[in-house]
């Protein structure tokens, strides 16, 4: 299925969880924030939240800034 991830279209497996998506990208659950369709998903729910087709996902972390 298709989702939008950090502004780009991405093909992912049906029924993928947030946790599996992070694993696939190679990101640790610590040190990121995940937003799904304008909702912030708390870290303790990464394993249970299942993505739906057309979801807009933002994965953020701390980057350089003043």
């Amino acid at each position: 299925m298709e989702i939008r991830l950090n502004g780009k279209v991405r093909e992912v497996a049906d029924g993928i969880t947030v946790r599996r998506l992070l694993d696939q990208i190679g990101l640790q659950p610590l040190r990121v924030a995940v937003q799904r369709n304008l909702d912030i998903i708390k870290r303790d729910r990464y394993e249970e939240v299942v993505l739906q087709p057309g979801d807009t996902i933002e994965i953020l972390s701390f980057m350089a800034g003043g």
């Binding site: 991830l5 990101l27 994965i59 980057m63 003043g66």
Partner: protein, 258 residues
Amino acid sequence: MRDGATLRFGGREFHSRLIVGTGKYPDYHIMQKALEASGAEIVTVAVRRVNLDRTQESLLDYIDLKRYTLLPNTAGCYTAEEAITYARLAREVGMSEIVKLEVIGDQRTLFPDNEELLKATKILVKDGFIVLPYTNDDPVMAKKLEEAGAAAVMPLGAPIGSGLGIRNPHNIMIILQTVQVPVIVDAGVGTASDAAIAMELGCDGVLMNTGIAGAKDPVMMAEAMRKAVEAGRQAYLAGRIPKKPYATASTTMEGMIE
């Protein structure tokens, strides 16, 4: 007089009064050395999309999280709503309540939109955040931010990245007399004397990024800033002589030949 030995806000205590940003360095290696040379205990970071290409280096590879307290900012936010979203995302990333709240009103000057800033401060304070708002040098605004629950106020010295120094020391001085929370000058510091001036006025700290990152030798400038903040603080605590229009001799006339 603000004569505490340490910088304290939000239930935390810091020995360094210099807060340094992580943006705009030539590379992460230089940034890491500059942060070390600055003696800073708090460093600011931004909240942005991760690089999905995991072969690239990332900022957090270069910051020892055991050594530094991260202060996420809401840079790039122009409304209270946006800033609140970013603060909440920052809290999620960093598992910490502390946030440098920026709500920008104008793209050219990057001056704060104080109306939106106050709105966001109230909401975030209620939501349990330790809010450090980036504001202008208006004592009335500083008071309102304090009353809204801000843990400190951070008046700008001059526009972000301008290097113009402390443009209105008189207002900064009035702010110091108006609020009880720490006053940290944030933005506009261009060289060591700017930082020293802020501390000589009695400020509790100074926050800077471009002044160090944009210098020809950021590591050397970071060390200079560390010394400047320490010297300015010491001069403030030592109690300077008053300014007088005319001379008062340092040598007595007594004992001179007739």
